[in-house]
């Protein structure tokens, strides 16, 4: 009755779609990366180039700068979100009126299209129109112009991402906090541990699995941020917010240097995986983790 053939038949369409649109592009990009291919160059055919494309990458300053910017962006975004999200989750552990409503509203940014998030923040920041430049100037005397000042553009993309994705961190950490046993905290109190000791020796180890999961999910998402930043700053001013996704999409792609673009795409994927791997080894593999 339960023949595996029927099971495979049920799975077949899913596997087919994911092979054709997920696995084939991956193999294709790996292959094209070893060729010179520019359909608009003198020789429009594929010419085998070995690892030349990858050799070029090492000396490509724009690529390296984009990688550096992406790492900076990711670092600040993930760190701020973990801290803010943890504090907010702690507040959600208490009982207070309208908690459900606050929670629902807090979830809203997670569902909004990134492109609309970018549009909203852009409208907030337009000089002469948006409230951000107006009030920053009036209250703090800050000349706020995203199109002119690199650090302002960078910080604004970070703040926007914090706005967009902190709710995810809050809710995952809240789930972690809710599932936590009470006894260790009570015995710590009896033993006279202060708040810092309780946090460091009991809270953090207990929260570690959830913290690590959250960090990885946010890390991978932050590394591939494109839409919002494209809407808000267009990668500028200059190259100040041209993160790696934007760089591949807006700079390398239109150059129709497909072999090189493929090599860069694959290298980006490789660097993403390596970064996650190093973090995984650093955070998780040192101690066996109970799940």
């Amino acid at each position: 009755m339960r023949s595996p053939v029927t099971g495979w038949l049920f799975l077949a369409p899913t596997i087919l779609v994911l092979v054709v649109f997920g696995l084939v592009p991956f193999i294709y990009v790996a292959v094209v990366g070893f060729f010179d291919w520019n359909p608009f160059a003198a020789n429009p055919d594929l010419v085998f180039a070995g690892v030349n494309n990858y050799r070029r990458l090492v000396f490509d300053n724009q690529f390296l700068r984009s990688i550096g910017l992406t790492l900076q962006f990711t670092f600040w975004v993930v760190l701020s979100q973990l801290i803010i999200g943890y504090l907010l989750a702690q507040l959600f552990m208490r009982d207070f009126p309208l908690k459900g409503l606050f929670r629902t509203i807090h979830t809203l940014p997670l569902l909004v299209a990134p492109i609309a998030v970018g549009a909203a923040w852009r409208l907030l920041c337009v000089p002469g129109l948006g409230p951000l430049p107006f009030y920053l100037n009036r209250w703090f005397g800050i000349d706020f112009r995203l199109g002119s000042f690199e650090h302002q553009a960078f910080i604004t993309t970070v703040v926007m991402d914090i706005w967009h994705w902190t709710p995810l961190v809050t809710l995952t950490l809240l789930a972690g906090l809710s599932a936590m046993p009470k006894e260790p905290f009570e015995s710590a109190q009896v033993d006279g541990a202060n708040r810092w000791q309780t946090f460091w020796h009991i809270m953090l180890p207990l929260l570690k699995p959830v913290l690590i999961t959250t960090t990885f999910i946010r890390l991978m998402d932050a590394l591939r941020t494109v839409d919002e930043v494209w809407m808000l700053t267009g990668g500028g001013p200059g190259t100040a917010t041209r993160y790696i996704g934007l760089h591949i999409w807006r700079v390398v792609f239109p150059q129709t240097d497909y072999g090189y673009g493929a090599a860069m795409s694959l290298m980006t994927l490789y660097l993403t995986i390596m970064l996650c791997w190093f973090l995984y080894v650093g955070l998780v593999a040192r101690k066996p983790r109970a799940s």
Binding site: M1, R2, P4, G7, F10, L11, T14, L18, F21, G22, P25, F26, V29, L88, L91, F96, F102, R103, I105, H106, T107, P109, L110, L111, A113, P114, I115, A116, V117, A119, A120, W121, R122, L123, L124, G128, L129, G130, W163, P167, L168, L171, T172, A175, S178, T213, T214, I217, M220, L223, D227, W230, M231, W249, V252, F253, Y258, S265, T268, L269
Partner: protein, 278 residues
């Protein structure tokens, strides 16, 4: 843990709510203003209701076409994904298949891939390789619909797997003994029980397909542009028509406002691949 006062959480959460709503509220305010009202002192208060921007956007045939494309792409994708994921999770949870754990893992990893990495190969495949005579997948709705399966299917399978495992196997075995076919077990026994889960899966996949921008911008040019690409083009093309930009943005994020109540309990489990359960 210790229960302390309620003043601090209330104050903090009121502030947080204001911060969360500010950008969206500002979009709404701008969309409700005429060109003249927009400039000068940026008041955050609503001046009154002016629907002109929405009328302009909706009367524009191009944007109506974009909206229509988005609705078709998101809805078709959501139907395909929900059905395929339903069948796939049924197989994964009810049949003993060789190597199903590795298969499951591979299915899930498809979602982790950064979109920008796959833009170039997909563009090349869509324009050069996947073609049948004159037909190519580039700039077609079906091209987008199929592609969105790559990130929506893993998500849907994850969400439905938990639900499917939660439905007692004894039920479909009993039905089988009574002479029901596999198809009848699926539609009469499992589906009614999985309905709430299927609904959440459908809504979230619909939202993800609706929100997608990067692939839609790269793999379409005229015929299959979606609302998100329309919104992005609007900025570069018209530059300063902020009222209409805001109106279009409000239309783009309207589904999020509508569905928020239905899915907010599930969105975390969904976005973290069930690694975090509430």
């Amino acid at each position: 843990m210790k229960k302390k006062g309620i003043l601090l959480p209330i104050v903090v959460w009121c502030v947080m709510t204001l911060i969360t709503l500010l950008p969206i509220w500002w979009l709404f305010v701008v969309s409700m203003r005429t060109r003249v009202q927009l400039f000068g002192r940026p008041s955050l208060l609503l001046d009154g209701f002016y629907w002109g921007n929405y009328v302009e956007v909706l009367e524009n045939e191009e944007f109506r076409f974009y909206l229509w494309n988005s609705i078709i792409v998101a809805t078709s994708n959501c139907l395909i994904v929900t059905v395929l994921a339903f069948l796939a999770t049924f197989a994964l949870s009810r049949y003993k298949l060789a190597g199903e754990d590795s298969l499951f893992f591979w299915l899930i990893t498809n979602r982790m891939a950064p979109a920008a990495v796959f833009l170039l190969p997909l563009f090349l495949l869509y324009t050069q390789v996947f073609r049948l005579g004159d037909f190519q997948l580039f700039d077609t709705r079906i091209g987008l619909i199929l592609l969105y399966c790559v990130f929506n299917l893993p998500f849907a399978i994850w969400l439905l797997k938990g639900i499917m495992d939660g439905i007692p196997k004894e039920l479909d075995e009993a039905a089988m003994i009574d002479g029901a076919s596999t198809f009848q077990v699926l539609t009469r026994v499992v589906m009614p029980l999985a309905k709430p889960g299927l609904a959440v899966t459908a809504i979230l996949t619909w939202m993800f397909a609706w929100n997608e921008y990067l692939f839609a911008a790269t793999l379409t040019s005229v015929e299959a542009r979606t609302i998100t690409t329309g919104l992005a083009e609007f900025v570069t093309v018209t530059g300063t028509n902020w009222g209409e930009l805001a109106a279009l943005s409000m239309l783009t994020l309207a589904p999020a406002l509508i569905f928020l109540g239905f899915v907010q309990r599930h969105i975390v489990a969904g976005l973290t691949f069930g690694a975090v359960k509430e």
